[in-house]
């Protein structure tokens, strides 16, 4: 059996917010990504998706738990050694306008990771930069321009070129398409799929957009209040969501077919504050099928018949399925 590229165990990240209070951004997350696999991570805003992505790359220090990258425990690795590892783990950010230094030319921005990690002569580096630009379909005329001269889609292509410049084993994509126009989004997704084929890099695709995630991911993890409530193969998860939260999330997603009868499960209330987490199952405050036990007991992730793992106390007796009301 091949070794996972990334394996995180019991990972938590807490931010102190003064007055002794603590934001629990990520809570006891277990995940693993196999080489070449794309794991989609979905959740509402504030569910800790981006924080998790950053903790995985050690851009933020984890509060608890362990991160194993390519067989090596990097949780406690000193900064200097992490820097060398960054060659193998790259990140694409949500907002391409702010993720690129406005004072540097696109050429220099793309060449930067190569400069840092690969020992190449200047002309070889230039060749490689132009090759990278071609691979992300960015015209070479743009290379001498500054980020302010490019459109969002072009900038995101430049960011992707930067991320694949050193042939990383893992790329964390933090909502790479959510700040882009719909028309540009499709192009970027196609590009990502192509790059995955070419480089065989594992990807962690963070998004709140289910349609996007479904298109690109092999597996999906659903995050709620910094906790993975359900994870499994994309199709299984979309066909037979086990956790009530996943069911609600999926029902909020509009299918492409206008004839499809939508029956919405609208969740009551707001997402609880990550400062004062609910006891027991974190979802019980908004869960339509919650029972008294849910407020006391923390559910363990269990395997459901369709293959995915979900953390819900009501799965064993089948009470986890929310009954859908017919829409008027």
């Amino acid at each position: 059996m091949t070794q996972p590229v990334l394996k995180i165990r019991n990972l938590s990240k807490r931010f102190p917010v003064g007055g002794g209070r603590v934001v629990h951004a990520v809570n006891c997350v277990d995940l693993s990504i196999m080489p070449g696999e794309t794991l989609g991570m979905v959740g509402e805003s504030g569910s800790g998706k981006s924080t998790l992505g950053r903790v995985i790359l050690r851009l933020l220090e984890p509060s608890e738990g362990s991160i194993e990258f390519d067989g090596q425990d990097i949780t406690q690795l000193p900064k200097g050694q992490i820097r060398r590892l960054r060659r193998d783990m790259q990140m694409v950010f949500q907002d391409p306008w702010s993720a690129l230094n406005p004072r540097m030319r696109i050429r220099d921005l793309i060449a930067e990771p190569i400069k840092l990690h690969v020992d190449l002569s200047r002309s070889e580096r230039d060749d490689r930069t132009e090759d990278l630009a071609r691979r992300v379909n960015l015209g070479s005329t743009y290379l001498n321009r500054y980020p302010a001269n490019l459109s969002g889609g072009q900038l995101q292509r430049a960011c992707i070129a930067r991320a694949i410049a050193t042939d990383p084993k893992l790329i964390v994509l933090d909502e790479p398409t959510s700040s882009l126009d719909l028309s540009v989004r499709a192009g970027i997704l196609e590009l990502l799929a192509e790059i995955r084929e070419e480089t065989k890099a594992a990807m962690l695709f963070i998004s709140h957009d289910l349609g996007t995630v479904r298109m690109i991911s092999d597996r999906i993890a659903v995050l709620y209040l910094g906790e993975v409530v359900e994870q499994g193969q994309t199709e299984a998860l979309f066909e037979t969501p086990a956790h009530p939260y996943t069911q609600a999330l999926l029902s909020a997603h509009l299918p492409a077919d206008p004839a499809f009868k939508v029956s919405r499960l609208v969740l009551e209330g707001e997402v609880p504050s990550p400062i004062a987490l609910p006891t027991g199952c974190k979802f019980h405050t908004r869960c339509p099928v919650a029972i008294a036990r849910c407020a006391r007991e923390v559910p363990q992730a269990i395997q459901v018949p369709s293959g995915q793992q979900a953390g819900c106390l009501r799965i064993p007796n089948g009470g986890n399925i929310i009954e859908r009301k017919e829409d008027v």
Binding site: R54, L57, L59, I82, R83, R84, L85, R86, R87, Q90, M91, F93, Q94, D95, S98, A99, L100, N101, P102, R103, M104, R105, E112, P113, L116, H117, G139, T141, Y142, L143, N144, R145, Y146, P147, A148, N149, C159, R162, T166
Partner: protein, 300 residues
């Protein structure tokens, strides 16, 4: 942006900067005036027959005439010659002191903004320097180091070093504060995190990503710094702490002239005009340079 824009031959960076600079009329005029002033004070003495220290007691207190276009002073020294010689010193002091203050200020500002651990220490030090009364410090420095530097470098060079260093190390604080604030804001920008995520070291991060982005406030500090240094130097001269009395600077000319303000008001006018013109042209120059160096403004 239009298509023709994109297909146009990619121009070099310096060409772009020059084009943007040229489009800023004030900066262009400022730059030309500053170059003219520098040319006048550095080349003028070679062409002008009078020596700035030559005393012609028969020609004293002359109003402007053909032989002495700016007039003469109470000892009969030619004011134009003194203006040119004084300009050399004043501009040299201004530029050097500004550079020194800029380097110290930017260094401390970047360190304080970038490294959280150093922030408190460095900023309290900055506050301390700001709280120190400037003139007594300069007085003490002059007393302590004047002789030493005189012996080491000769009277003129010695006092020049002393004055520029004194002005430099007592005027870096505003720059440090402004730069620190900007660095703090920049640090939160995603491209800094992005640079970290590709494995950029701190040194490289500061040099390649932080410093180029704090150029604007540094530029503004620089232009204000020159003015400040020229004025501080004249204040020092006035107190007898600066250059020796027979050694002309714009500040000294100005202070000499104040004694005769009622009889010969035009004597205040020349050095005053020279100082104002220099400061103004440098300000415009800095303004234009700041815009020209910013690709975001350039692309408009």
């Amino acid at each position: 942006m239009t298509d023709s824009d994109i297909s146009a031959k990619p121009s070099s960076q310096w060409y772009d900067i020059w084009m943007q600079f040229r489009s800023h009329k004030g900066a262009l005029i400022g730059g030309i005036v500053f170059i003219l002033i520098i040319a006048a004070v550095s080349l003028g003495p070679l062409l002008w027959p009078y020596d700035p220290t030559y005393i012609d007691i028969r020609a004293r207190n002359q109003t402007p005439n053909w032989a002495h276009p700016f007039g003469t002073d109470q000892l009969g020294r030619d004011t134009l010659a003194r203006m040119m010689a004084g300009g050399q010193t004043s501009i040299a002091v201004g530029l050097t002191a500004m550079l020194l203050a800029l380097v110290v200020g930017s260094f401390i500002g970047v360190l304080a903004g970038f490294f959280k651990r150093l922030d408190n220490l460095l900023m309290r030090m900055t506050d301390l320097f700001l709280a120190l009364p400037l003139l007594p410090i300069l007085l003490v420095m002059m007393l302590l180091f004047r002789e030493v530097l005189n012996n080491a470098f000769g009277p003129e060079k010695g006092i020049f070093i002393l004055i520029t260093v004194s002005i430099g190390i007592t005027s870096w604080m505003p720059t440090a504060r402004i730069v620190r604030g900007d660095v703090l804001a920049l640090k939160e920008r995603e491209f800094v995190l992005a640079a970290r995520s590709i494995g950029t070291s701190n040194t490289r991060l500061i040099l390649r990503h932080i410093l180029p982005n704090v150029m604007s406030p540094i530029m503004v500090s620089a232009t204000l710094g020159i003015a400040n240094a020229i004025i501080t130097e004249s204040a020092l001269s006035f107190l007898g702490l600066g250059f020796p009395p027979d050694f002309p600077t714009w500040g000294r000319l100005l202070n000499d002239a104040t004694d005769y303000l009622q009889q010969y008001p035009e004597r205040v006018f020349w050095p005053g005009l020279a100082i104002s013109l220099t400061v103004l042209s440098v300000n415009y120059l800095g303004d234009g340079l700041r815009d020209a160096l910013d690709p975001r403004i350039r692309s408009r």
